[in-house]
């Protein structure tokens, strides 16, 4: 329940009935699965570049080519709720329904309103500054993006440095458009405002907080 529910009967733009027959199952054990996914997300963001897996936590998940990446689905199940609007880049009814049902999440078509975003097709993702970057007094209001990529290891190697990384790490994320890194670099001067990302491939993910400096190797 949220205060506005009394006046707004629609839950934002995705107010169609949930298709219960096609509903994807959520966590088998909400309490402990959420905790384990969270620890993976915490570890990934605290140690950028380190690959973390949540594979085992949704054993029944059907990960076909079109389905949302398992790691992104699990992360959103663990973190989203009625107070965190979720932007889903493409029209993914299954994901939207599952998030609304299991997490009580609200969905939004407006990037700027999103607390979380799932980007299935990185090449056509909105520009980074279309999302909330936070404010100087409240940088925590920035969005968190989950970006599906082809591979967390096979891409062109870049050097990552900064908090969480001992000296430097070489990380090769495959499947990101070049403009992603340019847009991200352009945001650096706005620190503490910025954007925090997780790259997801299947059941694995890599964290990239706004504090990480990324350069060509």
């Amino acid at each position: 329940m949220q205060p506005g529910d009394r006046f707004n009967s629609a839950h934002g733009p995705h107010s169609e009935q949930i298709d219960m027959a096609l509903l994807m199952p959520g966590f088998g054990d909400v309490v402990h699965d959420s905790q384990r996914v969270f620890r993976a997300l915490l570890d990934a963001l605290a140690r950028p570049g380190r690959i973390v897996s949540v594979e085992s936590l949704l054993p029944g998940y059907q990960a076909d080519a079109n389905g949302a990446a398992l790691a992104a689905f699990a992360s959103l199940l663990a973190l989203a709720d009625y107070s965190t609007p979720v932007f889903v880049q493409r029209d993914d009814r299954a994901l939207a329904d599952a998030l609304r049902f299991h997490a009580g999440a609200t969905l939004t078509r407006d990037c700027a309103q999103a607390t979380f975003a799932y980007v299935h097709d990185a090449a056509s993702m909105p520009p980074l500054d279309a999302f909330s970057l936070g404010e100087p007094e409240a940088p925590e209001n920035a969005a968190t993006l989950f970006i599906r990529v082809d591979s967390l290891t096979d891409g062109a190697p870049l050097t990552w440095q900064g908090p969480g990384i001992r000296d430097a790490s070489t990380v090769g994320i495959a499947g990101l458009p070049g403009k992603f890194w340019d847009e991200r670099a352009a945001l650096a001067s706005r620190f503490p405002c910025g954007i925090d990302c997780y790259f997801v491939a299947g059941g694995s993910l890599v964290g990239l907080p706004r504090t990480t400096r990324v350069e060509n190797s």
Binding site: P3, G4, D5
Partner: protein, 379 residues
């Protein structure tokens, strides 16, 4: 040979036993029942419900019993319990104008529609200790005539009458008005709107608000308050249920409401009108509702364009220190061990005294062994 202090668990358990003994007191005396507290210490129950932010007379009475009468401790117990309760939804705003009033007065007018109802109040008692209360055993049926009368005639708001002439500002519901914040769910962030301030004050410590309100009357803030209306009685609580599509009455609660009429204010565009302060509390809690109304008005200084000249008008100062659960916790946390930090201060102080030439008073006499240690400590 020094041995590190152990047995902390046993010490804690033993302290619980001692506490239970002290709470029970002399076993030759009958045990206090929760029902007795609920019925005969009603005003304590009212305060615990208000500041504990839970309307449940029995739970509040239980908390008072468990806390051996320490109301701030009882309030903490109730708040901690509240944290565990699931939230079903939000009720409709209570309609205090439709209250079944047991007491209703106005100092601003000699007579008002619906009349001045004195009700049961300490106001006109002589404060003389009544030693007949020392004798117990009065369980006879109450006198029929003293059963509280609830008013059948409508009791329109006194302030509504002033409003008809346009003489007093009024909060009006707007379709685009933001939802009130919820301090039990979100942290207090500044700037804070009036609705959130009122929530903070409603659950704030009565003593603190009383003092701040008192200060506003003595010149610490521009205040010319008149008690426009104070009413106490029961109101219905209604909840809208999705499945039904309309609101259902789920019970009654007793509340006390105070509307203060304050110094008029105007500007170039708006003609002057009286301003308001508002107070609301669970149960029969006039002192709290009145103090809250005074403080509410003082904290509106900024939005009314008044010079902020006094701490009573400083929202951060008042709102951050109004919660007695927080205040009690932090003040009493000084009892926790702080010896590591104290050690650091000792070391610095000794160093500053020996190197800073502070020689006006000799250091306390030390044992020979100690003298050697101090000699080593000199830089």
């Amino acid at each position: 040979m020094y041995v590190a202090v152990k047995g902390g668990e046993r010490a804690i358990e033993r302290s619980w036993d001692l506490l239970a003994e002290k709470r029970r007191g002399d076993r030759a005396v009958a045990e206090l029942t929760v029902a007795q507290i609920r019925e005969q210490l009603r005003l304590a129950v009212a305060r615990v419900m208000t500041e504990g932010s839970v309307y449940d007379e029995e739970l509040a009475a239980l908390a008072i019993k468990q806390a051996a009468g320490d109301l701030v401790e009882a309030i903490f117990l109730l708040r901690a319990y509240r944290t565990t309760l699931p939230r079903f939804g939000y009720t409709l705003p209570i309609d205090t104008e439709a209250m079944h009033a047991e007491r209703r007065i106005s100092a601003a007018f000699k007579d008002i529609p619906g009349g001045q109802m004195l009700g049961g109040t300490y106001d006109y008692t002589q404060r003389l200790l009544d030693f007949t209360l020392l004798a117990e055993g009065g369980t006879g049926a109450g006198d029929e005539d003293t059963a509280p009368a609830t008013h059948a005639e409508p009791m329109p708001r006194v302030l509504a009458m002033l409003d008809r002439e346009g003489l007093i500002e009024q909060e009006r519901a707007r379709p685009d008005a933001p939802e009130p914040g919820d301090l039990s769910r979100e942290p207090l962030t500044f700037p804070v709107d009036r609705a959130t301030r009122l929530q903070n004050l409603a659950r704030g410590d009565e003593g603190f608000l009383l003092s701040i309100g008192y200060a506003t009357q003595r010149g610490y803030a521009h205040s010319h308050p008149f008690a426009g209306e104070i009413r106490n009685g029961e109101v219905a609580v209604e909840l809208e249920l999705d499945e039904l599509g309309f609101a259902v009455e789920i019970g009654d609660i007793e509340v006390t409401e105070c509307q203060m009429i304050n110094q008029f204010a105007g500007s170039g565009e708006v003609p002057p009108a009286f301003t308001q302060g508002y107070g609301l509390a669970f149960g029969h809690s006039e002192r709290k509702a009145m103090a809250m109304a005074l403080v509410d008005r003082a904290l509106r200084a900024q939005e009314l364009g008044e010079t902020i000249a006094s701490p009573t008008q400083d929202a951060e100062f008042v709102l951050y220190h109004s919660d007695n659960v927080e205040a009690s916790g932090f003040v009493q946390h000084l009892k926790l061990p702080h010896y590591v930090d104290f050690q650091s201060e000792l070391e610095l102080l000794r160093r500053l005294r020996t190197s800073g030439g502070v020689a006006s008073r000799p250091a306390p006499a030390l044992a020979a062994e100690e003298e050697q240690e101090v000699a080593h400590e000199r830089p």
